[in-house]
Symmetry: C2
Subunit: 447 residues, 2 copies
């Protein structure tokens, strides 16, 4: 018996193999190597980087690897009995899934940062882990280095979750922050994000909200023990938000963030991603630039927020290696499956439908670029009224020269279905608006 009270023989060394030696792969290798002594002092066994596999074995990643570690030999890594934990950092939904499935079939626990894969093929991955009796760590798939998934599955596990709301994409948050602070338009802020290395050359997955949706799907699945189909989630990006909208929000004491919002209802869950107007005094409103944050409400804990850098080699490497340590503890003690990958026992999950977006009820910010003619405002208000939508405030913004004038309306709580019906009428009436109305949903309660 050791000082920790665990009986039986324990592995003195846990072997790690990494597949994919890009940004996150090199960050992970750097943390594993540099902090090896610390990791051993915490885990109780040495955690050794045995192999890294990548197609490119010549580029300098700024990490000094022991000789013989880097190769192109994926089969060799998967067949290496000294590799207990395989870290998949290839990304995407192509080869990555096969690597994870093959590694698990070979009896290895796996760690991945691949949110796209988990959000679309998570059920298959989790089922394979169950069959193989191995663990899957994926803390790095959401929120970079901040330990939000572990909070949902362990630290706050006693709670029935009421809601989750997250700033989950640093690229979008950086763009919105620059737009708000400097009055930049979306295109210019995106260009600056790209120049600063905070946006990809092809930023589609980020700015269209899909990356945020992947992360929200993963969190909601863990929070409520249900598979979540990301395709059923309403997902809208930030491309249509303008500097004018951010100025109008500020005048209303609010700000605009790309939020992933999920809430537990009686018989369904809400799960949606869109630009969201929130009170400027709330904790999430104050998360700026490349930072991510997740605000969780639980029935016991009340509200909790985690905040941190949502991306980058080192923060993501921190999450990957912390997962490796978690799995290494389980390998060491023969305690794999201690916390199910799905947070709930596989046979105790239940599918919960996602509520149709049309059923959403919230407040709406509507910015109409109106023809400057008598009766136009009455015409718009009339259409809204026909749909049962009442207005809390109307403000005419006269800041742009020309034939059209922005009019900003805040509605009382209204149904998405009614708002969309009204907008179809308004947008179709060329005598009312010069361009489609901009809609930003307001989130009032938590956050």
């Amino acid at each position: 018996m050791t000082e920790g009270g665990v009986t039986g023989s324990m592995k003195r060394e846990i072997g790690v193999g990494i597949v994919g030696f890009g940004t996150v792969g090199s960050g992970t290798a750097a943390v594993l190597l540099r902090n090896a002594d610390l990791i051993e002092r915490r885990v109780g066994s040495a955690v050794r980087l045995k192999r890294i596999v990548d197609l490119d074995v010549t580029s300098d990643r700024g990490v000094a690897l022991p000789g013989g570690v880097l190769s192109t030999d994926l089969r060799g890594l998967l067949g290496d009995a000294s590799v207990d934990i395989v870290v998949e950092l290839v990304g995407g939904c192509g080869a990555a899934k096969g690597i994870l499935l093959d590694a698990m079939a070979a009896g290895k626990s796996v760690v991945t940062a691949n949110k796209a894969l988990l959000a679309t093929h998570g059920e298959e991955v989790f089922a394979a882990a169950g069959r193989a009796g191995v663990d899957v760590g994926f803390e790095a798939s959401v929120g970079g280095g901040m330990p939000i998934l572990r909070a949902l599955t362990e630290g706050l596990a006693a709670n029935h979750y009421v809601s989750l709301a997250g700033i989950l994409n640093g690229t979008c948050n950086y763009i919105l922050t620059r737009m708000e602070r400097e009055g930049l338009e979306f295109g210019d802020a995106l260009a600056q994000a790209q120049a600063a290395g905070y946006a990809e050359a092809d930023p589609g997955c980020d700015i269209e909200g899909l990356d945020c949706a992947h992360k929200l799907a993963i969190m909601a699945g863990l929070a409520w023990g249900t598979p979540v189909d990301v395709k059923e989630m309403y997902t809208e990006g930030i491309q249509r938000v303008t500097a004018l909208d951010l100025r109008c929000a500020a005048e209303l004491g609010m700000t605009v963030k790309l939020l992933g919002v999920a809430k537990r209802g009686e018989t369904s869950i809400e799960a949606r991603v869109h630009p969201t107007m929130i009170d400027a005094g709330t904790p999430l409103a104050r998360v700026d630039g490349i930072y991510n944050a997740v605000h969780v409400v639980g029935d016991a804990v009340g509200d909790v927020m985690l905040y941190g850098q949502g991306a980058g080699a080192r923060p993501t490497g921190s999450a990957v290696v912390s997962d490796v340590m978690d799995l290494a503890r389980n390998v060491r003690l023969g305690a794999r499956g201690r916390v199910p990958a799905t947070s709930f026992q596989m046979d105790r999950r239940a599918a919960i439908p996602i509520r149709p977006m049309e059923d959403l009820v919230t407040r709406y910010y509507l910015r109409c670029m109106v023809r400057d003619r008598p009766g136009v405002l009455a015409g718009i208000a009339g259409v809204l009224g026909e749909q049962g939508i009442s207005l809390a405030s109307v403000r005419q913004q006269a800041r742009r020269e020309g034939r059209t004038v922005p009019v900003v309306m805040m509605t009382h709580r209204a149904a998405e279905r009614a708002v969309q019906a009204a907008l179809r009428s308004i947008n179709g009436a060329a005598e009312l608006v010069a361009e489609p109305v901009t809609v930003i949903r307001v989130e009032d309660e938590n956050p």
Copy 2:
């Protein structure tokens, strides 16, 4: 083999006994009972509240207990073989320690929210756990429901921690927030906190900083794998902060929080608790009222912050029950000792000294109530200059009627030793100041 891959027979039911049925005890019982099905779905075994022991078995705590659960029979609880986990919620450093030691000696894992006990007798408790081969959960001892200890020991475990800074006492934060927002003086804000139930009738432990010091000692011990003697930590409360100081801070773009700050140096750690002036734009500055937050900087993850309600029956109950679930998973799988109570393996810890407070180097806010006479400012600046302390700004506040005028100085970085020497001279010179100079240390970097 189950779907989780764990072999062997697993306990279908984990028994829990609670000692102490006060505020946190009733919150814990409520969460355990109300969320029993959720807990079983997550853990894989039923987690049953078997016994609660308290001297008072008649008062109504608003929790409907199953018959026969509540008694005064501590021996019966400790001797009950169906109780796997004992939750100590008696508090204080009296009976609590004996309860924990007896429970562990009886082979039971233990959970406690008792920061005072852990900060002063933690080494004895941890050593006993090691000997007995059981787990100790104490998430609820720091930061109420926010899972900060689990973040330090698991979610961020790959990091060498650079610094920790926390708003760890909701009473003090509530008082400072009221003083800042409403211009209240300390005594009035304290009275309001007491009236609102956010401060004890005897608030000493909170307002003098001791509660914060206990929590910081626990966090620093886990972060760096060292015993921390709370008596070696500089600890100063908020009683001397005035509404005027908060106004002056606001004019400087700063705010004042009671922070626990710990930093890793080459050969020592800094660990100190005192009113601290921080930039109003930093995340910690925006944590108001009864909320707590901890800002962590790690070598890999960069900065991460957790935020939540630092006290209360339900938030603390959330942390206690999440700990119970953690330990139940270990009981279920025979994996006790998976994460050592000390975060580092017992034999891989090393005592790191706490750096003497006099060696601190930082910026200082000095508020001098000066005699309104020629040469006084020159006299004060002269004393500071003799000690090598240079001033970044001097501002005379002329907002009070009378013979004395407040003068606010911000120093450049200076040594605590020099500042204290200068203050001894200045405070001793009745021709310079009408009352002792108020000193608030500034924290510039993280946070």
